[in-house]
């Protein structure tokens, strides 16, 4: 039987009964009653409490650690330092991962773990941390990536040389890698331009801001088997990276995921889990660890801050002729920012012939960045869409028309090499133009901006099973995490394929012992990829049900069909048989022929590109510099909304995260290189009274690789946000901001600057 990867069976005229409706999600009840168990909500008999000692210095050699007083404290059961981790060379993947969770030679940021303790109570563990003596030799530090690139900058790693830059001198550097991405000939392109716009932009790291701090329990048994409970977007990836740094077989660790209290990319890499495992090993008891919010800010992954120069040219009738960019990405002390997404996505959605992008990733004394929705793309698109908007203004063209004129269409070959099938960028732009928001007059004293964005959407390694119980009800086991309601969407797709109601289906998470490897739940891949697996499984089950029915009736398998949850004769010629339900067949054949199940292990391909256009109105308070978003509309092509309410919720959430990034969120370091705003009070994320309702216009240009036309949802909605807000502010005050966040102090400066502009100089 061909798998779903060869034959999705997508039919543009299919009549869907369940996909596209809004059933209550099965995990919802537990979440409104407090029953749902998140990372910190588990307890094991004999459990100890672990705490991490963190460096108070941004950059320091660790000369020695004396933990003897902590070890002697009554109630302390184990203490670990880097000496308890296997020794892995610096500058390797596993070496960096080890050093990020436990400093070895040096502490490289304020909050870098240096030791950990497990004790019979949290109070004792905290007391023990104070008894650990670390002898630091404080070194000069560097926070800003442009400073880190200067010749006399403090060097984080003596071994580091810039990859991909043969011209770089053979001496230590903070630039990890240089990458050039090009297409055509930009000098020719700029020569053909009537208008050229070029600006510098910058953005600051922001935090993913999940409300659930990391929480886990590790239980290391004497025979070397490890049970790990944790909140994660990537149980299998955690397992395999943990075994890589602990030098164990993957089968030694079983990861069981809890409910996930938000992740947004930030729970794709582990933080306290290795400590919990090693503390448990040493103490021979389970160890629970829960990070504090201060630790989450100081020690877990923010998003890359960036510096960029972006230059584009267009003809006076609005055709873009060239695009050039120079990009710098902060990555914290170790490589791994996924900065390469930016050159592949920043201009992608426009049909460009001449592109030249130079990207560099730079280490500095800040926590290692982690993924965040569309990693490294939105903060660069902030600049790209500013340049686009300015070009449209300069030639006097409507900003949506300008984008339409340059929009990529079906058959476009993207800069990263893929040639696209059906895509919906034009449809999304047109839907934006036709939206009530865009057609409504702008209230007096406000500004309006639009911006567009793209994300690849992803597939990847995915495994899952679908099992029929003897009574014909269905259980589905998946190995991804549920970041935004994927369980109900998966149940809906299975119900649609099987022609049964969703309440006959239950979807559960696997632990890592139970399924094949599943890639991280990120990149807008989960509902798409798991949907492919689950529909494929349903088809296997249907085929077996047909075989068994044919056997019961004594007719050839071709003589039966499966329709709406029943097997029936294909025609009256086959015979006069009463249709049989799933339960009829499992009851009749289970004893003789065994249980029925479908399972698939795939590298899912065919993810369809996603596009969004955001429309934003803002009001700028000239006295305080505060920017209020007064109206917001997200227009996005998702291919097909499986559960429209959840799709809306996910794009609304993305837009509001983007508003925080646009207007307020940033890390503030003091002159010692320590984070000064490591709390929700001082690192202020948007609260309910900061934002308006977010209108959504969901466009559905199906992706034919998927049986129901699905693309992906979660990454796209944060990509255009800051660009749209920036363009709206430019429209309101006469100067388009180029530095994120567009916070009150910066806005007051821009308002002052705008006073001196003539009408023609105004944005």
């Amino acid at each position: 039987m061909a798998t779903i990867l060869e034959e999705s069976g997508f039919d543009p005229n299919q009549k869907l009964k369940i996909v596209g409706t809004n059933p209550v999600k099965q995990d919802g009840l537990d979440k409104v009653t407090g029953r749902a168990r998140f990372g910190a909500d588990a307890f094991l008999p004999g459990m100890l409490f672990g705490k991490i000692l963190r460096s108070p210095h941004a950059h320091a050699n660790i000369k020695s650690i004396d933990a003897s007083a902590a070890e002697a404290l009554p109630g302390v059961k184990s203490v670990i330092t880097s000496a308890d981790f296997p020794s892995i060379p610096q500058g390797t993947g596993a070496g960096d991962m080890t050093r990020n969770v436990m400093a070895v030679e040096k502490a490289l940021y304020d909050g870098h773990p240096v030791a950990a303790v497990a004790a019979t109570s949290e109070a004792i563990a905290k007391k023990a941390l104070k008894l650990i003596k670390v002898d630091y030799e404080v070194l000069p530090h560097v926070i800003d990536p442009l400073d880190a690139m200067k010749p006399d900058a403090p060097i984080l790693h003596d071994y580091m040389r810039t990859k991909g830059d043969p011209d770089a001198p053979d001496k230590p550097t903070n630039v990890t890698e240089k990458m050039v991405t090009e297409l055509g000939d930009v000098s020719k392109g700029f020569a053909a331009a009537d208008v050229v716009v070029e600006h510098d932009y910058d953005s600051k790291p922001m935090h993913q801001g999940y409300i659930e701090p990391q929480g886990c329990i590790a239980d290391y048994s004497e025979d070397g088997q490890i049970e790990l409970w944790c909140c994660t977007q990537a149980p299998f990836v955690y397992r395999d990276r943990l075994t890589a740094i602990l030098k164990l077989d993957s089968s030694k660790i079983n990861v069981e995921q809890s409910e996930l209290g938000g992740g947004f990319g930030g729970k794709t890499g582990f933080y306290a889990e290795p400590h919990a495992i090693l503390l448990s090993k040493k103490a021979s008891r389970p160890v629970k660890m829960t990070l504090t919010r201060n630790e989450v800010f100081r020690g877990t992954g923010p998003v890359s801050g960036t510096n960029s120069t972006i230059k584009m040219g267009c003809t006076k009738d609005g055709r873009i002729t060239a695009a050039e960019a120079n990009l710098v990405f902060q990555t914290g002390p170790y490589t791994g920012s996924m900065y390469f997404n930016a050159p592949n996505a920043m201009f992608t959605r426009y049909d460009l012939e001449n592109v030249h992008i130079v990207s560099r990733e730079v280490v500095s004394n800040r926590p290692k960045v982690n993924s965040f929705r569309a990693p490294c793309v939105p903060q660069i698109v902030f600049g790209v869409e500013g340049v686009i908007d300015e070009m449209a203004r300069k030639i006097g063209m409507d900003p949506i028309d300008f984008r339409l004129k340059n929009a990529a269409v079906d058959g476009h070959t993207a800069i990263y090499g893929d040639t696209w099938g059906p895509i919906g960028f034009v449809e999304t732009l047109k839907a934006a133009k036709e939206s009530d928001h865009y057609k409504s007059p702008l209230p007096k004293g406000q500004g309006r901006g639009i911006s567009a964005g793209f994300w690849f959407n992803r597939g990847g390694e995915t495994a899952g099973s679908l099992t029929l119980a003897p009574d014909g009800t269905v259980t589905i086991v998946i190995g991804t995490a549920d970041v935004a309601g994927s369980r109900v969407s998966i149940a809906m797709m299975a119900a649609e394929e099987l022609g049964i109601s969703i309440d006959k289906i239950r979807v559960s998470f696997a632990d890592t012992n139970s399924l094949g490897f599943n890639r991280v739940t990120a990149g807008s891949r989960t509902t798409y990829s798991v949907g492919m697996v689950v529909v494929n499984n349903a088809r296997q089950v249907i085929k077996e049900l047909c075989n068994r029915a044919a056997g019961i009736w004594g007719v050839p398998a071709e003589g039966v069909v499966y329709e709406e949850g029943q097997v029936r004769p294909a025609s009256s010629n086959v015979g006069d048989f009463e249709p049989m339900s799933i339960g009829d067949i499992t009851a009749k054949t289970g004893m003789s022929q065994g249980p029925i199940a479908g399972h698939s292990e795939m590298n899912v391909t065919g993810a369809g590109p996603g596009f969004g256009v955001h429309i934003v109105d803002v009001k700028v308070d000239e006295g305080t510099g505060r920017v209020d978003c007064t109206r917001y509309t997200v227009v996005q092509d998702v291919g097909k909304s499986i559960h429209p309410l959840q799709v809306e919720g996910q794009v609304q959430g993305g837009a509001v995260q983007g508003l925080g990034w646009a207007l307020n969120e940033e890390y503030i370091y003091n002159d010692k290189g320590c984070l000064d705003n490591a709390s929700f009070l001082d690192y202020r994320m948007p609260v309910a009274s900061d934002v308006p309702m977010v209108d959504t216009v969901i466009v559905e240009v199906p992706n034919p690789a998927h049986p129901f036309g699905l693309r992906g949802v979660g990454e796209v909605p944060v990509v255009p946000t800051m660009g749209a807000v920036g363009n709206a502010i430019g429209d309101a005050i006469g100067i388009r901001p180029r530095s994120l966040p567009m916070s009150p102090p910066k806005m007051l400066d821009l308002l002052e600057e705008a006073k001196g502009l003539s009408e023609s100089e105004r944005y």
Partner: protein, 159 residues
């Protein structure tokens, strides 16, 4: 070791007793001494609202209340919000309208919204937004939370 205090408190109508270490917060006692983990701890500094409970009918962040302050008092948490099998209108509307995504902020938001509707049965959108401004949510962008509260308020008013 410092002496522990004996605390007797009523949670969701049931009497509980526990020994509290000096400095133990109410959220810690609820979660770790009484096993009521529906109340979440997101920041321990009173900024995120995930630990919202009602103490003697007053909305508080239970991370800012000492466990000993609950002695002789009554506490309402998310575990007591439904009446047996019958969900509170807020819980039902959050389910129907997708007011809960990942669900970590949901117990605190529901408790805060309940406190709002007890004092103001017909709040405006702005009033809801300001009342819930102490409850951070990173998933929803607040839109569906606000709509869920509006729908529950309308249902409770019988309109």
């Amino acid at each position: 070791m410092a002496k522990k205090s004996h605390v007797t408190t009523t949670v969701n109508g049931d009497e509980y007793e526990f020994l509290s270490e000096p400095g133990q917060t109410l959220v810690d006692a609820l979660r770790n001494s009484l096993g009521l983990t529906g109340t979440k701890e997101g920041c321990s500094t009173g900024d995120c609202g995930a630990c919202s409970v009602q103490l003697e009918g007053r909305l508080v962040c239970s991370c800012l209340v000492l466990a000993v302050e609950a002695d002789g008092k009554s506490i309402d948490t998310i575990e007591g919000m439904a009446n047996g099998d019958e969900l509170h209108p807020l819980q039902r509307q959050f389910l129907e309208l997708n007011g809960s995504q990942c669900g970590i902020c949901t117990p605190g938001v529901l408790i805060a919204a309940q406190a709002l509707l007890e004092t103001n049965p017909d709040p405006t959108e702005t009033e809801i937004r300001y009342y819930l401004a102490g409850n951070l949510c990173r998933c929803t962008g607040y839109d569906k939370i606000i709509r869920s509260v509006q729908a529950a308020a309308a249902e409770m008013r019988g309109s």
